[in-house]
């Protein structure tokens, strides 16, 4: 039986621990007063600590578990490592479509898949190890942080006084209120990466990013995967065409899809879990070995004694901050998942930079000014930045969308990655980019060019003049800009052009 409370204790795990929470670590003797005390050494906390220390601030960084936070231990890093191997298996199975051949049977060594994942975690943990942070002049404390007043926090028996503090404690998975689930036991992102055997069958509850990514990955590892989503589409925030393409892709992989379906109860029968589901009033059951619940995340606001510091919060929305990321205590700021709706590593890092500027240098940087893209790393990936059409129309902004299908992009065709599209939404009557959605094998890479354009106020006219390397899939962005330019050739322009050339 797999112990899901901790990953296997191998050399990679030990290397990770040695970097992220070394045994025998001695907390530094505390300074008289810190310029900045940061609680939480995830992506937000680390970014803030590095930025503040680089500017000469006296910084304390407090972590109760592993440096690197969810992203390294139980989030983006392990999931993307698994997804890469899963994609490899999918490509091996589709070898014939690429004119290739796979000698013999494709067999999956789940243990080696997970070992690779731990090796990658260990490697990436080196860059942010406790010792390296200390070398940068950051005082690293391990232990539970508790505010003892409006300008002090206690950790491991020491009281640290601060001019400013930043809470970046992240979030954790929500427990879905499904009768029987807690008693039966279930997987979340906190323990799914501790698996040592691939479950023969897996029910994924929820069709959000994590649910879809892992449903596809485990299916590609050979699990029978059933996904139940209590909505008409996956990724309800995304455009319906994107969600439809994802749904088709999951179905092609062999994931059993149940949309508009709620999980109503769970119980155990022998070694297996019986799950009752309801779709449009019809009740049915599935029997699985494991259940992965991927519904929502709750901010980590408990146990810090925020009340003592006068920091207002609630258990659903987290720490309440203004547009400058300042809490109800003017000395205390927050960044990342503990206070943001957009719970992404890059959003945590961007908000941490704002918080440091505003806290230490009387900055007036605003959270609302950020352009935050995001991506769901399924195959194909689904990435978005800026406004959706619906959001623009709700604000009475007329929108035109320029769409390029990946099947019209040469590199996508040569790569056998033709599924998807680039949609760029512009304000009607101008070339101003309001938002964009990319569905493509490497959408996460491609969206960055569009984020750059939006944040730099580069319109489609200038984008059309940017030379893109050929052949690349990102050329789709240029093709969309070209499509926009063709609409500018009005009848009158064409007529004038013809008359000029007739000379």
């Amino acid at each position: 039986m797999t112990n899901l409370n901790a990953p296997p204790d191998d050399r990679f795990r030990r290397a990770l621990i040695e970097n992220a929470h070394p045994g025998g670590w001695r907390n530094p003797g505390c300074a008289a007063k810190y310029n900045l005390v940061i609680i939480g050494a995830g992506p937000g906390g680390l970014t803030a600590a590095r930025a503040a220390a680089a500017l000469g601030a006296k910084v304390a960084l407090i972590e109760r578990d592993l440096i690197g936070g969810s992203c390294l231990s139980i989030g983006c890093v392990p999931s993307k490592a698994l997804i890469r191997t899963a994609r490899l298996y999918a490509e091996m199975r589709a070898a014939e479509n690429f004119g290739g051949q796979v000698p013999g049977q494709i067999s999956i060594g789940f243990a080696t898949v997970m070992e690779r994942m731990r090796r990658i975690q260990a490697r990436l943990s080196r860059a942010e190890s406790a010792r390296r942070l200390s070398e940068l002049g950051i005082d690293v404390y391990f232990g539970e942080a508790r505010f003892t007043g409006s300008d002090s926090v206690a950790v491991a028996g020491q009281v640290l006084r601060f001019s400013k503090a930043l809470v970046a404690t992240g979030a954790r998975p929500l427990t879905p209120p499904i009768p029987g689930l807690a008693e039966t036991g279930y997987l979340t992102n906190e323990n799914v990466f501790n698996l040592t055997e691939c479950p023969a069958s897996l029910l994924v509850v929820g069709g959000g990013p994590l649910g879809c990514e892992l449903a596809q990955a485990f299916r590609r590892f050979g699990s029978r995967v059933i996904i139940a989503q209590d909505d008409p589409t996956f990724l309800p925030k995304e455009e319906r065409d994107a969600a439809q393409i994802l749904s088709d892709s999951l179905a092609r992989d062999g994931v059993e899809i149940h949309l508009n379906t709620a999980v109503v109860s769970v119980h155990v029968q022998g070694a297996q879990k019986i799950v009752d589901l309801v779709c449009d009033g019809e009740r049915f059951s599935v029997t699985v070995d494991e259940i992965l619940a991927g519904i929502g995340r709750a901010p980590n606001v408990e146990s810090m004694n925020l009340e003592a510091a006068g920091v207002r919060y609630d258990s659903a929305g987290g720490i309440q901050v203004d547009d400058f990321l300042r809490s109800s205590n003017r000395r205390i700021y927050a960044a990342g998942d503990v206070c943001l709706e957009d719970k992404f590593t890059h959003a945590a890092e961007a908000s941490a930079r704002i918080a440091v500027r505003n806290a230490l240098f009387m900055g007036r940087s605003r959270l609302s000014a950020l352009t935050i893209p995001w991506c769901t790393y399924t195959d194909p990936e689904i990435a978005h930045v800026g406004l959706y059409v619906r959001q623009a129309r709700e604000r009475a902004i007329p929108v035109r969308t320029f769409t390029i299908l990946m099947h019209d992009v040469d590199r996508a065709v040569t790569d056998g990655e033709e599924e998807g599209f680039v949609k760029i939404h512009v304000k009607q009557g101008s070339d101003q980019i309001l938002g964009a959605t990319v569905v493509a094998c490497h959408a996460g890479e491609m969206i960055n060019g569009l984020s750059l354009a939006i944040s730099s106020r580069i319109g489609l006219r200038r984008l059309a003049r940017v030379i893109h390397t050929y052949p690349t899939q990102a050329e789709a962005i240029k093709m969309a800009a070209d499509a926009y330019m063709r609409t500018r050739r009005t009848r009158m322009l064409r007529s004038l052009s013809r008359r000029w050339l007739a000379w």
């Binding site: 014939e96 479509n97 455009e239 009033g281 320029f402 769409t403 299908l405 099947h407 599209f421 009607q428």
Partner: protein, 433 residues
């Protein structure tokens, strides 16, 4: 045989032949006692209320074309309307309807709910379009025709559109006695235009004005293959409401903003379909400038096949669409031909191509719901849908007629509810002026 006959026929002769064959579906697959019409020609098929709506709209075409005596049309229509007015409306799970709406599928014999189907807003709307077409056409003072008009009025007035919002701003897609409202609404442009027009025009329980606006907020105006249009993938979305309403020259706020109209929009959608088939990104057999038509239709069944060394997933009845898919190589020739009013220059060559290249799939001049030449079959058409679907045949009759004589469009302009609903939705100009 049909290949030679078609090549020697004029366009008018060809259309007459296919329209008549489609019309005959309603004579041969209906229950004369209650007017219900089978969803498909397959044995044991239940009645579909939407197909009944098409049937009611087709009878005037039959009369005008001389394929049916007016008295026969009156009798069929009256039987149908009497059934819908008199059948059980209640929360009982085996009723015919509730709150004025009707279940999607009914037992063709008893008229009770079949297949545990949902109380369907869009299918009730299509039924209602037929009811109002009959009311507009049968305008004589005879007792029967007077009763037709009275029944139609009563059926329409009884519908509680506000209840169908289920507390939301827009209307829901349906309701079940077992579980209440289906928890998805109408997102993006769809065939629901007629639904909103009739809902807004109701003299008894009208939808609020803002419901149409709330729906159109979800629209996406896209440039695809250099055609700018209000996007929807399956072609039927660009046709169903247009079978009854002539949208040429009338514009709502959205179309005024885009300097277009819904008729022009359907024309562009047709061109996008053809362009997709010409590009044929997934290399399906048959696709080309005269072989397209991607919509909600029958398919070869849900399975994975390896064809010429390539893994293909094919589907059963599914909403196929372009350019985002799903696409499994299945073409619907009916929906392509029904594009006739919008793009006859595309639809007529397509019909001739179908006759010349796939004559075996055309039985008695009737087109199937789908065929898939990528799949190996007994002939070039590959897999061919068994039997015929009432929706396809009804749409063909109406769209060919609108192309030939504009009969249905002209009739529905006289229906006060259509004009009132369009105006409340913000349509102006053209024939509404």
């Amino acid at each position: 045989m049909i290949a030679q006959e078609c090549s020697g026929s004029s366009d008018e002769e060809l259309l007459d032949r296919f329209q008549r064959a489609a019309f005959d579906y309603f004579l041969s697959h209906s229950n004369s006692e209650n007017g219900l019409v089978a969803d498909t020609s397959r044995p044991g098929a239940p009645a579909s209320i939407a197909v009944v709506g098409f049937a009611l709209s087709c009878y005037p075409v039959g009369v005008e074309r001389g394929w049916m005596a007016r008295a026969d049309a009156v009798a069929r229509t009256l039987n149908t309307l009497r059934f819908f007015l008199g059948s059980m409306q209640s929360e009982q799970p085996d009723a015919t309807g509730y709150m004025g709406f009707y279940y999607h599928f009914l037992d063709i014999r008893t008229g009770r709910r079949a297949w545990q189907s949902e109380l369907s807003l869009i299918d009730t709307t299509l039924l209602l379009a037929g009811v109002l077409t009959a009311s507009a056409y049968f305008n004589q003072d005879s007792a029967s025709e007077t009763e037709i008009r009275a029944c139609a009025e009563a059926i329409y007035r009884r519908i509680d559109w506000q209840w169908a919002q289920g507390g939301a701003t827009t209307v829901r897609q349906g309701w079940r006695p077992e579980s209440g409202f289906l928890h998805y609404g109408w997102e993006g442009y769809s065939e629901a235009s007629m639904l909103y027009v009739l809902g807004l025009a109701s003299p008894t329980h009208p939808l609020p004005d803002h419901s149409f606006r709330a729906w159109t907020v979800t629209y996406q105006w896209e440039s695809i293959y250099d055609y700018e249009f209000l996007y929807a993938g399956p072609l039927f979305i660009h046709q169903y409401s247009h079978a009854w309403i002539d949208f040429a020259g009338i514009r709502d706020r959205f179309m005024r903003e885009k300097d277009s109209d819904y008729f022009e929009n359907s024309r562009r959608a047709t061109y996008v379909q053809r362009e997709y088939a010409r590009r044929n990104p997934y290399g399906f057999a048959g696709y080309g400038k005269n072989c397209w038509g991607f919509t909600a239709n029958d398919g070869p069944g849900f399975k994975t096949l390896t064809i010429a060394g390539r893994r293909r997933n094919v589907f059963g009845y599914a909403a196929r669409g372009v350019p985002f898919g799903p696409d499994d190589g299945t073409i619907d020739p009916c929906i392509a031909l029904a594009s006739l009013p919008f793009a006859p220059e595309l639809a007529l060559p397509l019909l001739r191509h179908m006759c010349a290249s796939y004559p075996q799939m055309i039985g008695d001049s009737r087109l199937p719901s789908g065929f898939n030449p990528t799949l190996v079959g007994e002939h070039a058409a590959g897999w061919v849908s068994e039997g015929y679907f009432g929706l396809d045949q009804g749409l063909l009759v109406l769209m060919i007629e609108n192309y030939r004589s504009r009969l249905i469009w002209t009739l529905m302009r006289t229906c006060p509810y259509i004009g009132a609903g369009l105006r409340r939705a913000g349509f102006k100009g053209g024939w509404l002026s």
